[in-house]
Symmetry: C2
Amino acid sequence: MSSEPLGVVLVGCGTVGGGVAKILLEHADRLARRAGRPVVLRRVVVRDPSRARPVAIPAGLLTTDLTAAITDPAAHVVAELIGGTSVAKKVVLDALAAGKHVVTANKALLAEAGTEIFEAARKVERVVCFEAAVAGGVPIIRALGESLAANQVTAIQGILNGTSNFILTGMAEKGLTYRAALAEAQRLGYAEADPTLDVDGSDAAHKLAVLAQIAFGVAARPHQIERQGIDTLDPMDIRFASELGYTIKLLAEAWTSESTQADRSTSRPVGNGSSPSRSEDVASSELKTVALHVAPVLLRHTDLLAQVRGAYNAIVVHGDLVGETLYQGPGAGMMPTASSVAADLIDLAVGRAQRTFAVARLWAKECKGFTVEPTERVRSRFYLRLLVADRPGVLADVTRILADEQISISSVVQHEAGEGGDQPVPLVIVTHYAQTGRFRAALGKINRLAVVAVPAVFYSVGD
Amino acid sequence: MSSEPLGVVLVGCGTVGGGVAKILLEHADRLARRAGRPVVLRRVVVRDPSRARPVAIPAGLLTTDLTAAITDPAAHVVAELIGGTSVAKKVVLDALAAGKHVVTANKALLAEAGTEIFEAARKVERVVCFEAAVAGGVPIIRALGESLAANQVTAIQGILNGTSNFILTGMAEKGLTYRAALAEAQRLGYAEADPTLDVDGSDAAHKLAVLAQIAFGVAARPHQIERQGIDTLDPMDIRFASELGYTIKLLAEAWTSESTQADRSTSRPVGNGSSPSRSEDVASSELKTVALHVAPVLLRHTDLLAQVRGAYNAIVVHGDLVGETLYQGPGAGMMPTASSVAADLIDLAVGRAQRTFAVARLWAKECKGFTVEPTERVRSRFYLRLLVADRPGVLADVTRILADEQISISSVVQHEAGEGGDQPVPLVIVTHYAQTGRFRAALGKINRLAVVAVPAVFYSVGD
């Protein structure tokens, strides 16, 4: 192993970049011990050196000259920490072209351009590391790629956006509206001024695309992942769900079908806080398709993910050998994310990352992974909430439509009308397992009923 | 990288060995893909080839000849899966002497003889891998050693014994006595006929010793780790704790002191299911001592570990950069444990394990790690339950003794006496933070009070 120092160039010195600089500057001894060689900050490339930074960068390290920094012969790794997909992509490709390894926390970039970036890296025999790109300080990339390497992953369910989970926790525990919970999150620094990418499911979809590449070899582009955010969530549905024993969480989910036969569909895995199965024989069936989506999902209060509060991230991975394992921690923030970037730098210094990269062949064109299954074919239980006229025959009409689509009902709760006698009445129906396509067909018909006041609201039920 | 097959010898073919054999035999294609080269089962060494096995081993692979198996030039790794510390130690040392890497699931062996085994491995430049030794299918060894490598771990709190957690869950949720819950665990295969090592805290202490070596470089021998099991737990205390908002869990815990100054002691970390801290500046103080123990602990119902049910294992790790991360999954069982052994085999085939081993210098004599702090000096809150005569002045006597030791009281609940008027009455006191030594001194005096019917019961309170 080389004992030459590993030279690092940081591109970007905002929250995450500042955190990484802090670790490299303040914990040099510790890093050298853990990496078996010094890990040295060579340059910090920024657009405006005069701007205030979260950490004091020694004179001479700050520069605006990207090209000089990444062609420095004593630099071995370029950490791209500026975010976005245009400049960041150029930085990454230029760094690889200059023969440097790349570490990035940029899920959007990987989701959009993973194939191009990884091909470029393989061409020059350099490595791209990205532990910080998904779930901040939670080491889910290593878990999927290394710790569970003997398994075929059969499902992933993740709370991958801390902002959304913080808002949902506020709505559930304090009875806040979405607006009020968002305002609180913004005040406390858990949500950006423009929270769109966090709350509409886009950020979680980018992260899911990255996880799906590792677990299933599928190169799903973000626009291929159906998503529904939390920005339209009505407190009434959080309340009704809770009365039925469920917590609503924004989940990024992937499930494989157990078979490609036409009569079998992908079903949501059943699992919650009971003991792991002792069934020790897992059928090694052919797994070929995977369904991916981001959406609010009703989880039993006792489900492991239902209990994840605030800005935490958490991921449950189902492996065919190990069963269900859970990884939880801070999904964002300066030092948690920087901790993951630093772990990648240590892996590069030790030489582990190079071994992993060569074998994993991520985003490789020749690797035939799973294909993405249309959401229509996924089987799930559904929560359906209507606002209907308080009139005889409404329930009969609605349940007839569901029956016509072969959807059977698990429970029905008709809530009391408000003060005024002619206000619409909330009607909540939870179905048994049904194919999403059939459920949506029924929904279309229900929404055309004259007694249905506003379009029906529906969410998947996670058991 | 070599594309030569990695040859594997299994020693032991019980539950875990059988699971590993199953993976190697039934998932050869998958392993070859993930490892970049074939991983081939060369021999399965057993004492009695005629005994029934959990998996059919092809003729010719089963052997009783250990020496021939581990000197096979086409064998590169010996997986020791027999357990125990005498024969297993000889197998491991012989394998290393024969120039083979070793994979083991044997926490007792590592805890007892880690220094000797790792020195032997370094001498012959071979590797010892042991992901399966702690928490079965939960990848806590990689998490501590690689994913969190940039952090100084400041505390570990783990549910490391699934049998105990299964029994505690039965006691808490079904109101069972220890005996009845144990019988159920035995009936369902979650407890051995002789459950001593699981329920008395020994197994968890072995695992804690292994984790403490990785996180703190401390070579704590198992007998140095204070332990209290669940076998003496009274259902009454589970009930009283629950009424106060706590769940009792058998925890293996390690905390560092933040300073070596005489006026500072090691305090239990405060942490539970609220949002991760946004505080982004972690003081890099000198961490020199670590306290270790295994004991039933009262955790708030909302604490992450309080919610771990059944035979699961879970570990919360506090890192100075990342904050709190949680790892949870099946802590035992054939395929979960075999999944971790197989991950080690893949790491050896890829070449990662060799890099990690060279840098980590585990159980190395020249590495000065933390020193073990006597439990007496650890500060904690305490739950104290007495059975006292229902007589005036009792509470005054008890609280005076606590006050004399500078222990202040957080809450007191005196429970109703039973039917007979002269039965002793349960008196429950929860203290604020106090030094364990002072608390124990008070306890001695309390037990000598004439009104105290049986020795006081006490547990740490985890917040």
